[in-house]
Point group: C2
Chain length 498, copies 2
Amino acid sequence: MTKYASEPDTDFERIFNPEKIAVIGASSKGTGFGSGMFFALQDIGYQGEIFLVNPKGGTLAGHKIYESIAQIPETFDLAVIAVTAAAVPRALEACRKKGAAAAEILSSGFKELGTAEGLALEEQIREIAAQGIRVIGPNCFGIYCPQSGLTMLPGADLSRTTGPVAVCSQSGGMAVDFANTGKSMGLGFSKVVSFGNGADLRETELLAFFGQDPQTRVINMYIEGVADGEAFFDTLKNVARRKPVIVLKGGLSSAGSRAVLSHTASMGGSRAIWRAILKQANALQVSDMGEMVRASLAFARLPARSYKNLCVLGGGGALGVSAADAAEKYHMQIPPFDSGLRERIEKLLPRPGSSGGNPVDVANPYVAPEVLEQVLCLAAKDARIDLQVLITLFHHYKNTAAMAGKPVREVTPFAELARRVENTVQKTGKPVVVILNNPKRGTDHLDVVEMMEQARREFADRGIPAFDDLAEALEAIAHVNAYYGGKTHESANGCPNR
Amino acid sequence: MTKYASEPDTDFERIFNPEKIAVIGASSKGTGFGSGMFFALQDIGYQGEIFLVNPKGGTLAGHKIYESIAQIPETFDLAVIAVTAAAVPRALEACRKKGAAAAEILSSGFKELGTAEGLALEEQIREIAAQGIRVIGPNCFGIYCPQSGLTMLPGADLSRTTGPVAVCSQSGGMAVDFANTGKSMGLGFSKVVSFGNGADLRETELLAFFGQDPQTRVINMYIEGVADGEAFFDTLKNVARRKPVIVLKGGLSSAGSRAVLSHTASMGGSRAIWRAILKQANALQVSDMGEMVRASLAFARLPARSYKNLCVLGGGGALGVSAADAAEKYHMQIPPFDSGLRERIEKLLPRPGSSGGNPVDVANPYVAPEVLEQVLCLAAKDARIDLQVLITLFHHYKNTAAMAGKPVREVTPFAELARRVENTVQKTGKPVVVILNNPKRGTDHLDVVEMMEQARREFADRGIPAFDDLAEALEAIAHVNAYYGGKTHESANGCPNR
């Protein structure tokens, strides 16, 4: 029990910002997880010192390989252990003796096997950890911290841009997928931890740490089972008062709960219990990783409050209908503008085919960014509106490009629109969310896909959240509303739009 | 009322496969919807004759422009009318006198405006239509028929590949987005009709036609409101006995229903009524276009039956848990294999980290296609399994490519895997669905996006349906199950896997 309460002697600074790392199990052949982690650390630009260890010695990419941990001439902050399961306890003990603050154990072959041998090895890890070294894993992908250049497997190409989003995940695949997807969406991370079997450091302590971490504003958790339900719930209630905590609980189905059993036999996977617990703690429950990343984007980019009345701008006949359906599903309104405002907006738009009501149908995809800015600024004058949603139809510029004989990225005014949306947010004080709708994704339209990703980056660089789909965006904003519209919070962390 | 019953004198052959088309409102300047349609028809490779009409005469891209419809020297099958709303009735009447079977009216400025003038103009269109010319529109994007080279606006780049999927949509944007998304997913179309305001030809008649069309096996409808609820329901019941009908009803929210009111004041948008009607008719209800396209892909590619017991193959710790959760949500099973089969599968896989149970965790993303084929063939021996789901992790080859200094498309064995999956389907008689999971989509990973789209095409060319996401794939298959697991059907159209 005490294992999962806060341990004040844990040096998280040394864990997340290690000045020296030892990689146990790097090979002079350059194969295996240990060597992979060494290359990943170099590629992502980790600036600290790295010591390599392998009983066979030799060198790897010009780096000396020590034959034992004891031979490393200095102490180090963090060990990466990637040796066979049976060799892990001895390596961990040696790292503890060298004064390492923690070890991430990438190796598998422990409790997850369900064998007596695996369980015994994991118990040995717990015992060594209790003597004074924190353990991340085993059976994990490690820690990603863009500020320090620490990275998960195989995350050599993760971003070095820091941001407010933290992730802790029992699944390594989920953690690295989240980091990659977040990078694609322009989301920056404070820390991402894949804790695997969670023999030592796991959900409750990590949650408590993220709750206090000044670099973390949004916390994501992928949980299959918790080790101590009561401690977790107390910490969750406490942390969720201060910061949004988004939880993806795997194994809520009866079959899924059987699948989880081989990992942790602790807290049951009842759907009703989890829903009640998360709701009571004012934590946000999501049903898949995509929803979790999008909710994080909304929390990271939108000022801390709820959004109930939207202005929706876009082009196309079904826009008004589907926007209204989606808004109702997520308990938001798209209030019609009064006739005066409507007429002022319609004067700016091509006629016929446009509509200045709310949703605003701009009639065709080629309305100039300057005009869209004017419309957004006018619509923001309606005092009820607290958020604007701009649906772009950039894929139609493929036709324009074909006629002009130019690349689609050159004819599509995404950079200008991003600047003008940023201006609009600054002038009106009301956030804008952009939808990068793209039905042209196939091999014939890779130029459109490329342009859309460049557009996403233009918006992201300006702090404007961009989603692929209107309903997905509203779902994400609904999580923001559920959080800020729920209980009162000790401190509403007044983050700006970026 | 009789307007919406079947009209045996309607010549759908001339409408969908016109040998001669007149474009009314093409301009020698090359601007406007009429000229756009002319260029689109040329670009998509329409082989019939095109007559252009504009009172100002002149030429467009070397084509003579007639100064009036009467001056066209021959009769024509289909007219495309793209003149101002006030000029439409006279143009339509002239086309009728020339013996055209139908006219698609792209112009807007009719009933959708809600003005007395707009309503009167639309009534005139109905009256002329009743005298012997069928009308598609007004306020629409027209008809796309890949076989004949007829295309919607602005669909110059739609596919010429024919397939079993039909779409009729009140929204032009929805119709063209569906056609584009379907193309990206390797889905072929029989006919796509954007019927806009539906002054004449609309949902019920089109549904009845698609019900009889031998080239159509799957029918999609985007409906905001129906003109005659009883006739629609009778036709729906009738057609859905023979072919799957997938319906996206827009405006089911109260706000959405108000948005629909300006289009058709006919059948109300009650969510409960629609759900009951669609269920009673054994039609499939979807909540957005993405779900509709994916359901069509499942219906088009999977043999006509229901799928309750799945084998799921992939790599990563959370796979088993999330697959089980998703399967339960969609009322499917992932039955565990017996120990004999499990051991035979595990002998083929890297150890530790893999699991030969069901789901099969192949432990790492680099398992050779040959091995995956062997595993799929073994798993198919479990008589309970009726469908296999293969989750690829191709994005991890980005790291392999970086180490090898080669483009990711060269190191990723997607073409071989597609061939081997095709072999597996042929050998086992059990269909395989592929998941092209890709969290690497941003500007740094356009090479991964490109490779994924090439992979999608490899699978599509072999009749293997590929989805982006496991839960989305199971949702699509659940529609197949709902259809074939429901009422008995007059004829189960025994389509093969391609």
